[in-house]
Point group: C2
Chain length 294, copies 2
């Protein structure tokens, strides 16, 4: 930890991620004041009442008063917001002679966001990050202590950010007990498609399948075992968050989906042919995941 | 609970399910002695040393000495074993005048097993059951206390079993804290395909996809979040158990897989076309699972 004094943190988007960061940055003494920007009035009022933030402010005030601005809105909105934040940095720099504030985002796709700010005169005050933790719930009421503990956080294109800005992001993720990994935005988006985005799509498709076929929801409720629940859990995830992710990471996601559909077809064929040896081979091959996932 | 005295329980197959039943039937006072049949010598020795069973015996001794025989082997082996147990019931009935022993299986598909014993003179001493609980682990070392608590157990074709035999099965599942649901074998197999078997196939396919695409396993390990882990968890499941399930429930499973592949294709098309409204609709539709799965 290299924290010199408690920081004023501005969080734009007080949902699961922004809210959970607020909880741990406050209770672990990193944040002095936490101020928030939230477009949904009900969510803003709730975040305030829950004590996630000390004040709700507008974007300009948030940037003006914060040492660090965390952009924690769905990635579709972030592509618009992030350049605005950097523009305010320019304005304040002109007024004050310089601007040493930091802005970081926490979105699940990184390449398109990077392209929105590359070339901006204050690009090096921005740190591109993706804390890989979450639940299937959303909104400030989903915020929880300890959400990030032990998970990985990716920092992308660190060489495009000022060293002190990267250090600030590292301090924040250190406070959140995350393991920081460094990666290029394009590599991040490929890996995220494999180990995160496809999982959500397979869960959505599973929910759609079961909901269509099991007309009597009581049967699903009665019969759902732990296995089904864990496989379908991500299907509860927010469309506000996931629609722009799948859109922005379209090429990688489609590529992984094609491989996935091929694997399903191979399974289908082996079962249809009554080829038990082949079914067994496929399951044994899949079992290799045991070595990797505890 | 309608237990008159502690029973001698014979368990054929000392794996996750058989072993976990042994743990709870003993500690909750239902079982007096528990004897086991186990084809794998290492597993048999472990089950004995772990105290899951009091003795390892052969099939004939098991049937001879037990009040209740629980067939807890993979369903491929159960179709051979179950008629053998009923044949021993015939032998003992001839010798003793009658046989009031009970045999039940705990397999995940029910129709093919039913057809193996229908018409057997001791068919009504058999109760077809499916306790819908488990983990992705197998073997006696996977046995755990409380595995079944709060889950559903299906009893199939209860009208083909003697009332006292059904009552015995109900007492056992009552002891295991399960909710008993009654269903025909064919209906069971349809519902099991939707809420259990397809979940396993989607996990296997997900593991195969990620293992093929992420050549560097360290990346999977580093980046796997809770979401990926929960979605891929079932891919660790045993091929010994799952190969015969997918084989015996082939028609239902193929039908559900076809619907699932259609849903994946619909998702793929919406993403490929950049149709965010359609992606959002699909996610919102999938979100309906929230109402059913906590």
């Amino acid at each position: 930890m290299r924290i010199e004094s408690m920081k004023t943190i501005g969080i734009i988007g007080l949902g699961l991620i922004g809210g959970s960061m607020a909880v741990d940055l406050r209770r672990r003494g990193f944040a002095g004041e936490i101020i928030g920007v939230e477009a949904e009035p009900v969510n803003a009022a709730a975040a305030l009442k829950m004590g996630l933030v000390d004040r709700i402010v507008d974007l300009k005030e948030c940037v003006q008063e914060s040492d660090v601005v965390i952009v924690a809105v769905p990635v579709g909105a972030a592509t618009g917001l992030l350049p605005q934040v950097l523009d305010w940095f320019s304005v304040f720099a002109q007024r004050d002679g310089d601007c040493k504030k930091v802005v970081m985002d926490v979105c699940s796709t990184k390449e398109q966001l990077a392209s929105c700010v590359n070339g901006h005169p204050f690009r090096n005050r921005y740190v591109s990050t993706h804390p890989m933790a979450g639940t299937e719930y959303s909104g400030p009421w989903a915020a929880m202590a300890g959400l990030f503990d032990g998970h990985a956080c990716i920092i992308c294109a660190a060489e495009d950010s000022a060293p002190d800005a990267v250090r600030m992001a590292e301090d924040i993720y250190d406070t959140l007990n995350m393991r920081v990994i460094y990666m290029e935005p394009s590599a991040h988006d490929v890996h995220a498609a494999y180990v995160s985005h496809i999982s959500h799509i397979t869960s959505f498709a599973l929910a759609l399948t079961v909901l269509e076929k099991e007309k009597d929801e009581k049967h699903i409720f009665d019969l759902a075992s732990g296995g089904f629940s864990s496989t379908v859990r991500l299907a509860k995830s927010s469309p506000d968050m996931w629609t722009p992710i799948l859109s922005q990471n379209k090429d990688n996601v489609l590529h992984v989906m094609d491989t996935y559909i091929e694997k399903m077809q191979a399974f289908r064929q082996a079962i249809a042919e009554g080829n038990e040896a082949q079914v067994r081979d496929l399951i044994e091959e899949a079992n290799r995941i045991r070595r990797i996932i505890r």
